[in-house]
């Protein structure tokens, strides 16, 4: 089902958290709301499911205006970070709860619960209490409970935050599998760009109550609209240096480094201060522009090494490369960047 937030605003008392936000989630799509904590992504989620009243704007599910309906009538499935399983009920009862509320006949409930348990692979756990389950299993139960009443939309609020690294990887693909199998419209709220990129069809990146950019993960990575987006996506993160337009080139401040303007950017007039973003994977032995600096830090990541390069003006760039033995700490290096992969931003952070 298509979800539309139309000029949605939310304030708590005098504090405006979200103002005039418009967002459309397509039917069957999984969208990530990505942003740092406090950016308003959870507030948006709570507004969609009805826990919060909206201050302004409308919320549509399909063509239906849901703005003034209470949560109970919106039929939204939510998976919380803590899973919020009912501790006094066993797994089957947990999953059955939304159906019981709808007064479905017992046999029907049992059938649906079993079906859902099979879908999330917990058919053998139905008699257990939540406390007797691992984190991943609890997650699956929470999913089953959210999905069993066939919601209009599935909301996932930091669903992986409480899992350890290995389980997180596993559940990432599981959630995506289940979403795809059921074809349900889903919104994932997360602060983890990896989750957002790996699980979702599209990402809406938020900051300070506003959506900065909506795009597919690939597009967003390749083509960030602002320094914020560029900085948020990518691990290890992008590095920024301050520069100035000079003679159709970009001169890094207080350093003897000149970089060409990438082909997709408009060349700024001379003297314009700019910010150049360089992703670590684009700084290394290959490229068309030269960067000199001193290796200030080496982090071993197994297959690859991460190098910090300190420029003469003191700013630090990052490079990720295959492990190589010829570089050690404090070495002066001269590496290159692919100028077509540079991002150039105006001083206010907007991409040029």
């Amino acid at each position: 089902m298509r979800i539309l937030l139309d000029k949605f605003s939310k304030s708590f008392g005098a504090v405006k958290v979200i103002e005039d936000m418009t967002l459309e989630i397509k039917d069957g799509e999984m969208l990530a709301l990505l942003g740092p904590s406090g950016c308003g992504k959870s507030t948006t989620l709570f507004a969609i499911c009805g826990i919060h009243k909206v201050t302004g704007g409308r919320i549509y599910f399909g063509d239906r205006d849901m703005t003034d309906l209470p949560s109970q009538e919106r039929n939204v499935g939510v998976v919380f970070q803590s899973y919020a399983l009912y501790p006094h009920m066993n797994v089957a009862e947990n999953i059955a709860f939304p159906l019981r509320i709808r007064n479905l006949p017992g046999a029907e409930i049992k059938r649906l619960v079993d079906e859902m348990a099979d879908l999330v692979h917990i058919g053998n756990l139905l008699d257990r209490r939540p406390a007797e389950l691992s984190g991943g299993q609890q997650q699956r139960v929470a999913l089953a409970r959210a999905l069993v009443r066939r919601p209009n939309v599935l909301l996932l609020d930091e669903p992986l935050a409480n899992l350890d690294a290995k389980l997180r990887l596993e559940m990432r693909s599981e959630i995506r599998r289940i979403q795809l199998e059921t074809g349900i419209t889903a919104i994932l709220v997360t602060h983890d760009q990896v989750e957002a990129m790996s699980m979702c069809d599209r990402i809406a990146i938020m900051n300070a109550g506003q959506i900065i950019q909506i795009a597919t993960p690939k597009e967003m990575y390749r083509n960030p609209r602002t320094t914020f987006v560029a900085g948020f996506l990518g691990n290890p993160p992008i590095a920024f240096v301050e520069a100035e337009a000079r003679d159709g080139m970009l001169a890094v401040k207080n350093a003897d480094i000149r970089l060409p303007v990438p082909p997709d950017a408009v060349t700024p007039p001379d003297g314009t201060p700019v910010i150049i973003g360089i992703r670590p994977e684009n700084l290394g032995p290959e490229g068309d522009a030269i960067i000199r600096g001193r290796v200030s830090f080496i982090e071993t990541q197994g297959r690859e090494n991460l190098y910090d390069i300190k420029l003469e003006n003191g700013s630090v760039l990052r490079s990720i490369q295959r492990v190589r033995d010829d570089i050690s700490l404090d070495d002066e290096v001269e590496w290159r960047v692919r100028s077509d992969r540079l991002f150039v931003f105006a001083e206010n952070g907007e991409r040029l």
């Binding site: 826990i51 939510v78 919380f80 709860f97 939304p98 509320i101 009443r149």
Partner: protein, 274 residues
Amino acid sequence: MTGHLKTWPIILALSILSAPLVLMYAYLFIDTVTNSPPGSFIPNEFTLEHWAFLWHTPPGRPSIWRVTFNSLLFAASTSLLVIVVSSMAGYVLSRLNVPARGFFLAGVMVLHAFPAITLIVAIFLVLQMIGLYNTLIGVILVKAAIDMPLGIWLMKGFYDTVPWEIEMAGIQDGASRFTVWRKLVLPQVKPGIFALWLFAFLLGWSEFILPQVLAPSGDVQVLSVYLASLIADDNNFDMALFKSVGLFYIAPVLILFFVFQNYLMNIYGGGSKG
């Protein structure tokens, strides 16, 4: 951190300090089943004669069983009322978006420390107006009302520990706020409710002044009033009898206390009237 100095001097000192209490409670038991020669406190014979009050009702006094039943009824009803009212109001103060919630909360805290006993004349008048003076129901209502602020306060504390997400999940699952409270939240605070029930039961069982003033007549007399009037009657001074009735009276308290001491200490430690 306790290892580097001996602990026995502390234990010894504490034992000496505790001796009077131990002595009093030990003799509470000893004196009810023994006789001692006059002027001595070393028993010289075993006897059950002090327990005759159980089957022999002295003239002019209600039967001990009637009184015990009243006490039981009083304590049970009071505690039941307290947990019902408190678990409802506590939830409101902990979770619901009602007007003047802060005011209610402050009100509960003020009432909690309220000198209710000094209002007893006015309380009497209220009871009389609603026709419940000298009835067990009347005292039950009053006692429940007096214990209630603490009950609400404690229940609010218990509810505060229930994760919001459980309620949110319940709402998303389509349950009404009422169902969420009744089916999802209440079960989470069951241990708290039990502790509060126990606490209120003991308070009710111990209450003296309220029934004494508000329900003095014989057929609604409770054990505390019965025992107090037995002691006040200067025609039959019999310490062993007082103690036997007293032990009979305090036994359920001690049993409940020893079995559920952790529950109780939690509540008392959390702040009750001293």
